[in-house]
């Protein structure tokens, strides 16, 4: 009998210990929440790019100084970022202020997950909606309501290896280049022994490479009303055939190589002479000694007949959660981040080019080794990154189908027609 009691006591002790243990954890929560923003004092700001963290922190520091509202920047990697927002939108907690991307914005806006900023933006003294690029604004507007304030813009430029150009005796790329010049020179810059290739473009290098070619040829990826695919447009196919030409010429490394080592890695390891990179890559490129010594950037080539030199561009938006318990302060922060002053500083610190008209010029000075001015020049003729509600689905499908062209199993024309067919099906379901 005695033993029974002892054991019962022991059991109880074990149980309480385990409960206390878990409870102890929970207590940690309460403490954490007190200074963590759960009670609505400190704002949580969520982003996915580490490279922008230091600069944004500084800007948000200024905001705290002016308003006394504290905010903490949290970086979550791209994949988890969207999982987190998805879970938050399905009934969980969302960060107070966060980035929106054109791939996802339509879903979030149409379901009223995001805070409606229309009136706030109209009444604001800091934010002037007329100062942002029209199409970036449109990315974050739905049914006439504003759900996001433009944060930045990005454009594309051509990067090249000066050393290789010198060695081959070819003049550096400049504004006289057409896509034909590019294809021609890529072939010249390719060495037979496989130690050097002219250029690297992957099957999924869309925004940075082939979308630009398509629009230069007068083609389109998606119709203006975003209801039909543009891949079966003869001009689109014409643009895409430049890629096919590069493949057939052998001017690019094998698809296997490019999938293991992206164009950026190949460029900085001296394997290729040219590649295309968006302005968001500059923050990492400026830390690479090899690139600083050997490489530089130039404007994109243009279409020979159209004389157009399009850069696909995109821009993120600052958004807030509609169900946040701190929407007043969240708006104040977004308002500040969208203001001319903050946008100016964002460019100055070299974080990114800014969305506010005329604030980006200082950004070009953030890495004097490179001729970053070309990114600014590329703003003259911009087309917004093609999007619809199901961008991810049809973009993935297109990259998948292009694999066959890269391997040589399919002609570019057939591939484009196949993509158009599937993409139209996807768009019809939206």
């Amino acid at each position: 009998m005695k033993m029974k009691r002892v054991s019962a006591l022991l059991m109880c002790a074990v149980m309480t210990a385990s409960l206390a243990a878990c409870g102890g954890g929970e207590k940690g929560t309460a403490d954490g929440a007190a200074d963590g923003g759960g009670n609505g004092e400190k704002l949580s700001v969520m982003i996915w790019d580490n490279y922008q963290e230091p600069g944004l922190k500084e800007i948000i520091g200024d905001f705290t100084e002016e308003t006394g509202i504290e905010a903490e920047v949290q970086v979550v990697q791209w994949n988890e970022y969207w999982t987190l927002l998805e879970a938050g939108a399905q009934g969980g907690e969302m960060p107070d202020v966060f980035w929106m991307h054109s791939n996802e914005s339509q879903r979030y806006m149409s379901n009223e997950i995001l805070l409606d900023l229309t009136d706030k933006a109209a009444d604001s003294e800091l934010v002037d909606m007329s100062k942002y690029p029209e199409e970036i604004k449109e990315l974050y507007t739905y049914d006439g309501k504003v759900y996001g304030i433009p944060k930045d813009i990005d454009t594309i430029a051509l990067w090249y290896n000066k050393t290789m150009f010198d060695e081959a005796g070819i003049a550096y790329p400049d504004e006289t280049w057409t896509w034909d010049t590019l294809v021609e020179n890529a072939k010249k810059l390719t060495k037979d022994d496989g130690s050097q290739y002219g250029i690297a473009i992957r099957n999924d290098t869309n925004q940075e490479a082939y979308y630009n070619m398509v629009y230069d040829m007068g083609g389109e990826i998606i119709s203006e009303d975003r209801k039909t695919s543009g891949y079966d447009n003869p001009d689109t196919i014409k643009g895409m055939q430049y890629i096919e030409k590069l493949i057939q010429d052998g001017s690019m490394p094998s698809m296997e190589t490019m999938s293991e080592n992206g164009p950026d890695v190949l460029l900085k390891s001296g394997k290729i002479a040219m590649s295309f990179h968006g302005s968001w890559m500059v923050s990492t490129f400026k830390q690479e000694d090899y690139l600083k010594e050997n490489c530089d950037c130039a404007v994109l080539p243009m279409g020979k007949e159209s004389q157009r030199r399009v850069s696909i561009y995109n821009g993120l938006g600052w958004a807030a959660a509609a169900n946040g318990d701190n929407t007043e302060n969240a708006w104040k922060l977004i308002e500040y981040l969208g203001s001319e002053k903050a946008q100016q500083k964002q460019a100055e610190l070299g974080v990114t080019m800014s969305a506010w008209e005329g604030t980006s010029d200082t950004w070009a000075a953030c890495a004097p080794e490179f001729n970053l001015k070309v990114y600014l020049d590329m703003r003259e003729d911009m087309v917004v990154r093609p999007y619809s509600r199901s961008t991810v689905t049809w973009e993935n499908r297109a990259s998948e189908i292009f694999k066959d062209v890269f391997i040589g199993n399919m002609s570019m024309e057939d591939a484009c027609k196949q993509i158009a067919k599937e993409m139209n099906e996807t768009l019809a379901e939206e």
């Binding site: 243990a21 949290q74 970086v75 990697q77 987190l84 998805e86 009934g91 830390q287």
Partner: protein
């Protein structure tokens, strides 16, 4: 006989050494890379295996940028509570499933197996919503949450209890022990090495758990080692030496934990003769 024994031992050592080398090559590269400069780490031509100069920059930068003390603390708390919860609940349930007969047992055990059959990714969103509803985002509890109970551990300990001889239990019962006594004083101690194994696995899986900590704890002060490492990895490109340096610093405590637990196994050998 002696000579034969020596040969056998030599062969065993040879085999172990060969496997060890295979196991170690990736780690050697991690160590070597950690001491390289960034261009060296991605250099192709000429092929570099050893760093030209052994630099400790990567380590010092990483130590400066990451608050390892805090990361260790969070990770160890996560591990501690997960191990505690897992071992406690699984020891109890495993015993009941292995040795007690009661109505509903088979159905309940099939639930346990059922849970193991589902890829854990489907739980992320529902569990995130639960944690945020109880207001436990950015807390140790939030980190521990999916590991409060363990189907894997329950199954593991059930198997362990099933190997134990039945006569021990009957003897205890004849001596007047009731069920909790038999469990606590006779059976549970005998399953110790499986508990240790469960402890090790729970610790390792908690340490390696990536997607969950990244989503549930986003505040800088509440990150774990693995989520901080993943954050370092960046979206577009990677600083290999720093990443490797950080990984090495990060897995040190796990190695220490394992070495400590490992002693349990060796002690187990010493006592196993007296087990019966």
């Amino acid at each position: 006989m002696e000579a034969k024994k020596k040969i056998v031992t030599a062969v065993i050592h040879l085999a172990c050494i060969l496997v060890s080398i295979t196991m170690l090559i990736p780690f050697l590269w991690m160590v070597l890379t950690a001491f390289k400069s960034v261009p060296e780490s991605t250099q192709v031509d000429p092929f570099i295996i050893f760093p030209t100069v052994w630099r400790t920059e990567a380590f010092s930068v990483v130590m400066e940028n990451m608050n390892f003390l805090l990361l260790y603390k969070n990770t160890l708390l996560l591990i501690f509570f997960r191990v505690l919860c897992a071992v406690l609940t699984a020891t109890l349930a495993g015993y009941a499933f292995a040795r007690l007969n009661f109505k509903g047992k088979n159905f309940m055990f099939s639930m346990v197996l059922f849970q193991m059959m589902i890829p854990s990714q489907i739980f992320i969103i529902p569990q995130y919503i639960m944690v945020s509803k109880i207001g436990a985002l950015n807390s140790i509890f939030g980190l521990v949450f999916p590991g409060l109970v363990t189907a894997f551990g329950t199954f593991l300990l059930k198997q362990a209890y099933m190997t134990l001889p039945k006569d021990l239990e009957e003897a205890a019962r004849l001596d007047g022990c009731n069920i909790p006594q038999t469990f606590l004083f006779i059976m549970a101690p005998l399953a110790r090495s499986s508990m240790v194994a469960l402890g090790i696995f729970t610790a390792v899986f908690a340490f390696k758990d990536l997607m969950w900590p990244m989503i549930v704890n986003t505040e800088k002060d509440m990150l774990t080692l693995s989520s901080a490492l993943a954050k370092m990895q960046g979206q577009y490109t990677t600083n290999f030496p720093q990443l490797m340096a950080a990984s090495l610093i990060a897995c040190l405590p796990m190695i220490v934990i394992y070495v400590i637990f490992q002693k349990q196994f060796i002690e187990g050998i010493a006592t196993s003769g007296g087990k019966l």
